[in-house]
Amino acid sequence: MIADIGFYIVAFAMLVSAIWAVTAKNILHSALALIGSFFGTAILYLMLSAEFIAVAQVLVYIGGVVIFVIFIILLTSRLGDKAEIAPAMRKILAFALCSAMLGTFLHALDRAGYLVNTKTATAASDFASMRNIGLRFLDPGANGFLVPFEIISLLLLITVIGAIVIARKEGE
């Protein structure tokens, strides 16, 4: 019961900060609202007993991506810039499209019986413990993820090189 109330509070906070992130006039405010949404997601992962993903979420998203976004905003926006205003027609169309999308999703969820189904069969509580995830990542067998894991490290290296090449000044 307490977990349920906690879930509702976290879900509400996540939705509110997500809405703030996409509607804020000042782009810096939306980056700050993004922190709220990501932090709520980390708490939700803890509730779903996925500790490793929760920690990775905080480290990579809040500590890395959002700080990076804030740096870029500060580098590229001039103080006193007029707030961006999308045409009203575009906003109305986007709102209608998104409402239809959400309605379709929820309808499908309802038809599949997920919203009335109250059984809460859960996986073993250590399903995402550091030990299990580490063993699966480095398992070279058919069930393991060793090759994707190594490819991801290669991808990160390529990304670092690519980002430096793209962002450097021309003629240097």
């Binding site: 992130a21 939700l44 993903i53 979420q57 969820l109 009335v116 993820f145």
Partner: protein, 101 residues
């Protein structure tokens, strides 16, 4: 807290992100919305793994891959933003028409 509520929350976040991606005029705003959408997809992976899966550990592992790839995507995209700002002094997508035939 059931699977259905977690999925509904993820759908809500995804739709909010989609709305942002459609209405923002600043490139950085669009990237923020895309991050929200990726995050919503991640919630689905972890929720399904927690509530019913025969092989629960692989759900969070997919989530970890999505997080890593989202970080890569953000690094390259923001490098492109810096380069574009240097060239055009402006990040309004309606005014950046280099790829427009």
């Amino acid at each position: 807290m059931t699977l259905g509520y977690c999925l509904a929350l993820a759908f809500g976040l995804f739709v909010i992100g989609a709305y942002g991606a459609m209405t923002r005029k600043n490139i950085v705003g669009i990237l923020i919305s895309i991050e929200l959408m990726l995050n919503a997809a991640n919630i689905n992976f972890v929720a399904f793994a927690h509530f019913h899966a025969t092989d629960s550990t692989s759900g969070p592992i997919f989530s970890a891959f999505v997080i890593a790839i989202a970080a890569c995507e953000m690094a390259v995209a923001l490098a492109i933003v810096v380069s574009m700002f240097r060239r055009h002094k402006n990040l309004d997508i309606d005014k950046l028409r280099e790829l427009h035939g």
